[in-house]
Symmetry: C2
Subunit: 350 residues, 2 copies
């Protein structure tokens, strides 16, 4: 029923990550067993390891940007076969029958989706353990095909940072000629810039840091707006069709609301925490909107991967050894990464 594999995890909220042995279920009839090649490092991994959002269950084995090779499939699996390059993102299960699941929006499953780590494990009991490990067994409905035209290691972050920015851009129908702002140039923001550019939008990177201008333009931004420069902010007032807000912490929203056109939307994808007070009049005066968006459904994740294959879009990454993960976390926290760490899981097998 179970197999013992190697992983990296934290024993408690204050512990560094270190090697450990964990159990995986064996490959069931509806399952795909994947040998993990690469796993991206998401800020959520750190929040969960350190119990920032409360409710973490230990040991935490993080990792939900997983790319690997299929090594075994269950008898009901027809879509994948041994040797296929596949991915797993933030979810490994959902009820599959509620209205959200039926619409392909498993991330909003009304009965609660199963996160790739730190969710209730329906099979083994306990909680799910993520991708900082040598292998994983996942229900076939939550396995994605990775196009063979793009670099597998740089594809890993698409499974979370990618879909988190792709889904709102598509849902709010960003299209050729739209003026789109992306606030914040980190793991999420750099993907937002690439996608908005590829969708034909006029992309404006909105950042506090003038020194990010060159990089933003290299990634696909047509303009850079320094949010601390009140003159520049005034010039862009009421001009954006859509703003993707990737700031990961609570922040002032009024200056960004002022940038939106009438009827335009700013979507929050980063700040899963209390935001600062904003002025009701800012929304009322232009029928403006603030919304949130959580990762994306499996169907749209596959669409994104196919789009990336066609347009040669991947994440900008720094490949690291598993043993350097604790240093990498410190660098993520001070935003010292362009733009995503990806763990070479071969280094765990050694």
């Amino acid at each position: 029923m179970k197999t013992i594999i190697k992983a990296y995890g934290a024993a408690d909220a204050k512990a560094d990550l270190k090697p450990m042995s964990i159990e995986r279920r064996n490959c069931g009839d509806d399952d795909v067993k994947i040998d993990i090649m690469y796993c991206g490092v998401c800020h959520s991994d750190i929040h969960t390891v350190r119990n920032d959002w409360k409710g973490s269950k230990y040991p935490v084995v993080p990792g939900h940007e997983i790319v690997g090779k299929v090594v075994e499939v269950g008898k009901n699996v027809t879509k994948f076969r041994q040797g296929d390059l596949v991915g797993v993102g933030c979810m490994v299960d959902s009820c599959q029958h509620c209205a959200s699941c039926e619409e392909g929006l498993e991330q909003y499953c009304e009965n609660g989706m199963t996160g790739t780590y730190n969710s209730k494990d329906k099979h083994l009991g306990g909680h799910t353990l993520g991708g900082y490990s040598t292998s994983i067994v996942v229900n076939k409905e939550f396995v994605l095909s990775i196009p063979d035209t793009i670099d597998p290691k740089a594809t890993a972050p698409l499974l979370c940072a990618g879909i988190t920015t792709w889904s709102p851009l598509r849902h709010w129908n960003v299209k050729k000629g739209d003026k789109v702002g992306v606030i914040g140039l980190g793991g999420l923001g750099h993907m937002g810039v690439k996608f908005a550019n590829a969708l034909g939008a006029h992309v404006v990177m909105i950042t506090t840091s003038p020194d990010k201008s060159k990089d933003a333009k290299a990634l696909g931004a047509h303009e850079v707006l320094i949010s601390k420069n009140m003159d520049e902010m005034r010039k862009h007032k009421n001009s954006f069709d859509f703003i993707l807000n990737t700031i990961p912490v609570g922040h002032e929203m009024d200056p960004y609301i002022a940038l939106l056109k009438r009827d335009a939307t700013m979507v929050l994808v980063g700040a899963i925490e209390p935001l600062k007070p904003f002025h009701g009049g800012g929304l009322i005066g232009g029928r403006k909107r603030i919304a949130g968006s959580l990762i994306g459904g499996i169907k749209e994740t596959q669409e994104m991967l196919d789009f990336c294959g066609k347009h040669n879009i991947v994440s900008d990454i720094e490949l690291i050894d598993m043993s350097t993960i604790n240093d990498a976390y410190e660098r993520v926290i001070i935003s010292d990464v362009k733009y995503r760490f990806v763990i070479d899981m071969a280094t765990l097998k050694d």
Copy 2:
């Protein structure tokens, strides 16, 4: 060029309203001159009189829920004639050529609409003076027809409280069978309940006050949800298709965001001021939205009035004499009115 008429206004932010003489332009080629019969009392009148939002210009003559009879029309006016029952709401002019104006959304005029009071007066200089007066001269494009099937005095509040609630209900396509929440039972809220009911929605009045239940149901609410009752609030979690939030001051939003279904919107129409911090996760977890909405355009105001004529919908009002306006203001502030004061302007002529 000008005529002297009687009005009621405030000389400064601390003064009571009292009788004064003001100037009106004479009726121009594109104008309609209206003898005012009734004028509703809006909370904005008080905010402007008392300079709560800053920028008030004195004397303030408030009043933007105006119903009266046409007494003169300019030579370019074909739609109205002497004796017609007409209304004027919150706007008396706009640029008429920007994208918003061309879409019939003059309230969002990109060059700034002219408010019925306390806006720059393009004709006489100085600032506009509102409906607490015996007559008004208004550009024909900002004059509304009042159906002759409904009580004119109870129609006055439709011009602000009515359209402010009608416009978002229509814009967000509230329809038969939708579960619609209306937060707050005041001048705006009581119209929101009537309209949502008439549009076929299942209407839930959301209020802090259990003693408002009976009245809410009489107005058309199918259910009453007491927002202080955490058990009840939990039962209604993730169940609303739309929420109209009429709370006139900054307030906690998380409990109301929790009530929205996935992809559903809460529209703010009351609080033109800073709101309390809310939790980004509340929006992100269900792709939920917060929006604002400001009154409504002229075209949709006429549609609302026609709908009201057809469905016999008016505001619940208390008719007052002009001389009691200062007492009425005190009662508005403590919400001691069901649900709108309307001034009988004949009492100013005495």
